[in-house]
């Protein structure tokens, strides 16, 4: 019993370790705006308390990837962050002339910190809202409508 009690105590506190990433397509400049909501205390911990713009941008670029239909990574540009209450809102932008549908995304935020981390991705594809979940070890996933197939690029 003496050994079991501390084990259970270590497992006892179970906050919800999750982030929310929203992808919005802007027709005006054919770009994707990526907004990431992360709890400030989690983010501060993973950045070793250095929540400067440069540290936040570097970490986000390493943990978030967006690739086109051919598997080429899209260049993402940091567009700032703000804080409201317990949340940090982080912003990235990428040029995607072909739209959101069929792009592949991976969000590995905080996987290096929490084993039970789950990252949610939301997007609107052809008027329909879709979502993806990422847990530790997940590879990138395609943005498709539920029941829809990924359109691969024509080679000929």
């Amino acid at each position: 019993m003496g050994a079991i009690v501390p084990l259970f105590m270590a497992l006892a506190v179970h906050p919800l370790h999750t982030t929310l990433t929203q992808l919005a397509y802007r027709d005006a400049d054919r770009s994707v705006e990526v907004t990431v909501r992360v709890f400030a205390d989690d983010f501060r911990a993973v950045l070793a308390r250095d929540v400067s713009d440069s540290a936040a941008a570097a970490y986000l670029r390493s943990a978030f990837t967006l690739t086109d239909r051919a598997g080429r990574p899209l260049a993402v540009v940091w567009c700032g962050m703000k804080r409201t209450g317990d949340l940090l809102w982080l912003c990235l932008r990428a040029t995607a002339p072909g739209g959101l549908s069929g792009l592949r995304v991976r969000v590995a935020l905080l996987f290096d910190r929490y084993e039970d981390q789950i990252n949610i991705v939301q997007a609107i594809l052809e008027g329909q809202r879709v979502a993806l979940l990422f847990t530790r070890g997940d590879a990138s996933k395609p943005l498709t409508r539920p029941g829809g197939a990924v359109r691969t690029p024509l080679l000929f």
Partner: protein
Amino acid sequence: MSELAAYVSLGFRHITDLEAMDHILFLLALAAIYRPRDWRDSLWVVTAFTVGHSLTLALTVTGALVLPTRVIEFLIPITIVATCVENLVVRDRERALWGGRYRPGLVHGAGFANYLRSLFVDEIALPLFGFNVGIELGQLVVLALAAGVLAVVDRAFALATVRPGGAVLRLRVIAVSGFVALIAARWAMERSPF
């Protein structure tokens, strides 16, 4: 995947994760007083817990009820200890069944609420509904696993006692409730805001 399916999955994974040990042990304590043939009663109890859980989750997430996280996290193990004590003291299962098992659910539901309200600040209805459905589906899985654990405990006591039957159930209730109460009491002391 649809948004609803994502939130259901989020709730299900959250409650079936070993990190959610306080919730899992609470379900074990709830199920501890039932024989295998009384599985319908245990489902009713978990449903009562679910009703309380859903009610407070909704009230807290929508801001209608404001509870400090520190107080909630202290009250959760207190409700677990109270349930274990009730298991040991109240021998009438009918009283235990209808005597307010929804009340601990009221406290546990508030435990998740502050996180959801912070993250989904602009659109809470769908995440709240999906997360709660996932939590309840996860609880049913945990309950099924708890039934397996209790069957093993029963078997061990049946082999060890000369008077099987009702004595085995009583021994199981004492052992499981005592074990869970001890752990929950330690959590309460650790999280005490006083």
